[in-house]
């Protein structure tokens, strides 16, 4: 690396330093662009093209055979019909709360499981295990556990004299009950990401801080928290994307009910699809697209900017 040939000076912009000039030709020959083609074709045909098409079909009344352009009518329906607009606010609540809880609990569990704690292997396995069980399986299981009369949760509460609520049957509670289950299911992954980030922090920092007399809280606050930031970014972004788009758990546990109390955009999209209102369903997709982009993109930019500041 130390002996850079003079001819490299112009080439160094596009290649790594210290290599011979014909580098670029070599790259073109040995890493041909057609390698991208097969994957790109599938991706464009089944993902990008439908996304673009949705911007048109969202403005239509659509039966798959017949397309009628109706302007903003679908969107008006979406935001004026209280049943549909409920899905909009619920999506935001679901996304923010699940993501926030996964960050806090994931970090706590991550710190716990990277410390010298008893039965670490067991704890790691048990926290991660729900990630493997299918969402449908988890949903059904918690449906049984959250049953207002026979469910294990309310029976346990009854033992200590608390009259447990109808977790999934009370319209004010249903969405929050599903949020708890989603956090239960996903916190293992968040903890895993945090564990990867925590292990990468050099131990010397902690030792130096200890020598300087910093207590456990100070070490956490001033070393762990800033240095585990990339992991936090990952957890926030991943869980927000997942949370805003969540469909499976909600569909299995309540079907959006009782009434429309726990409907989110994704379940509204499915319902309209199942009823055959394809234009309206696609408008829902566009709304979801806008919501996800409007939340994720600024956040992504902001989190990454803060990161480089450090």
């Amino acid at each position: 690396m130390a002996t850079i040939a003079p001819s490299d000076a112009t080439e160094a912009v596009v290649t790594s330093p210290g290599k011979r000039p014909p580098r670029r030709k070599y790259a073109q020959r040995m890493y041909p662009r057609w390698f991208l083609l097969p994957g790109a074709v599938i991706f464009f045909v089944l993902f990008i093209a439908p996304t673009f098409a949705s911007f048109y079909y969202a403005f239509t009344r659509w039966t798959l055979f017949d397309v009628e352009f109706i302007g903003f009518d679908n969107f008006v329906t979406f935001f004026t019909d209280p049943q549909l607009s409920k899905g909009f606010t619920n999506t935001l609540i679901f996304g923010t709360l699940t993501s926030g809880l996964k960050v806090v609990l994931g970090l706590l569990i991550g710190v716990l499981l990277t410390s010298e704690i008893w039965a670490r292997g067991y704890l790691r396995a048990v926290v991660f295990f729900p990630v493997l069980v299918s969402t449908v399986g988890v949903g059904i299981t918690f449906q049984a556990l959250m049953d207002p009369y026979d469910g294990l949760i309310n029976r346990a509460l009854a033992v200590v004299g608390i009259d447990g609520p109808g977790w999934l049957t009370n319209p004010d509670l249903a969405l929050y009950s599903i949020i708890i289950v989603d956090v239960w299911r996903g916190v293992g992954l968040a903890a895993l990401i945090y564990m990867a980030g925590l292990v990468a922090i050099p131990q010397e920092y902690y030792e130096a801080a200890k020598v300087d007399g910093a207590g456990a809280w100070h070490r956490f606050r001033n070393i762990t928290l800033p240095l585990v930031r990339p992991a936090t970014t990952t957890v926030i972004i991943l869980s927000l994307i997942g949370g805003l788009r969540e469909f499976q758990l909600i569909w299995v546990m309540t079907g959006g009910g009782p009434g429309f109390a726990s409907d989110v955009l994704a379940s509204v999209i499915y319902k309209q699809y199942a009823y055959g209102f394809y234009g309206l369903s696609t408008a829902g997709n566009v709304v979801l697209f806008v919501v996800v982009s409007a939340v994720i993109l600024p956040l992504f930019w902001w989190l990454n900017r803060k990161q480089t500041d450090l």
């Binding site: 290649t15 097969p38 994957g39 089944l46 716990l112 556990l145 994307i241 697209f289």
Partner: protein
């Protein structure tokens, strides 16, 4: 002395809390699957009166003309097909993107991130699949899963490839390898650990997927394992013992994958995309 005591207290508390929060639900599934129908109907967390696990397994398999077996075959085909296509194509993309500097790279990155962030547009996708004649076919659904999982895999591979020294490629070129041999004989084997991660993560995702089969593969003859759960649940009555037995049975494949590849998953995650 004081410190070791408090460490044990922390540990014991953690074990206890985790057992209540995480183990009880699984113990519950297990216990219900041992029970007879009437016994499980009360949903109580009690020891089974009659131990009929094996009978439950047989009944679950026999329900609706052995639908679970068909579903297992369908899910296996779907998972193997989509994950193998996804991994090979994404590895090729990640390989070229990491190795070949280009002014197009920001655009590729944009599309990759879009693939992670943008929610798929359901009806237009179904419509395109219909015009291609692949709607309601296993192959079609597999291609959809490939499209949806591609971004994650490309990110994973691209990050990993940039850690492999280029000197290896150059040595292979000097030995006369062309681009295809270079990738499949040199690159692909070097990517092994991250390939395992991608395979495990995506297999579990595809195998456990319920929304996309619901949308793009309707109909009973095409059921995947997740949809068999609805056989035991109706508006009026749920046969809980069979339902929980079914949950147990369809959790076995992802569980086996996890047990076998536990270490590699974490290693692959830390070396790949999860760096942030």
């Amino acid at each position: 002395m004081n410190r070791t005591v408090s460490r044990h207290v922390y540990g014991a508390t953690a074990v206890l809390v985790s057992a209540i929060i995480f183990l009880v639900p699984f113990a519950f599934i297990l216990v219900q699957s041992f029970k007879t129908g009437p016994d499980s109907a009360s949903l109580s967390f009690t020891w089974p009166i009659d131990f009929v696990f094996w009978e439950n397994v047989v009944t679950v398999f026999q329900t609706r003309d052995y639908m679970l077996i068909t579903a297992f075959i369908n899910s296996t085909i779907l998972t193997v097909l989509s994950v193998s296509i996804m991994v090979v194509l994404a590895a090729m993309i990640g390989w070229v993107l990491a190795r070949r500097p280009s002014r197009w790279n920001p655009i590729f990155t944009f599309f990759i991130l879009a693939g992670l962030i943008v929610p798929p547009a359901i009806v237009p996708t179904a419509w395109i699949m219909q015009s291609l004649g692949i709607f309601n076919t296993l192959g079609g659904l597999a291609l959809v899963e490939v499209a949806y999982g591609m971004s994650f895999c490309v990110l994973l591979f691209r990050a990993f490839v940039s850690n492999i020294p280029r000197e290896l490629d150059e040595a292979a070129t000097i030995d006369g390898a062309g681009p295809i041999r270079l990738f499949f004989q040199v690159g692909f084997p070097l990517l092994k650990s991250v390939i395992v991660t991608a395979i495990v993560v995506q297999s579990v995702t595809v195998f456990n997927d319920f929304a996309n089969p619901l949308y793009f593969l309707p109909g009973e003859e095409n059921a995947t394992v997740q949809l068999t759960l609805f056989n035991f649940q109706s508006q009026f009555q749920t046969t809980w013992n069979l339902l929980f037995t079914d949950i147990l049975l369809i959790t076995i494949p992802p569980l086996l994958m996890y047990i076998f590849f536990n270490r590699q998953i974490v290693a692959g995650m830390t070396s790949g995309a999860i760096k942030g």
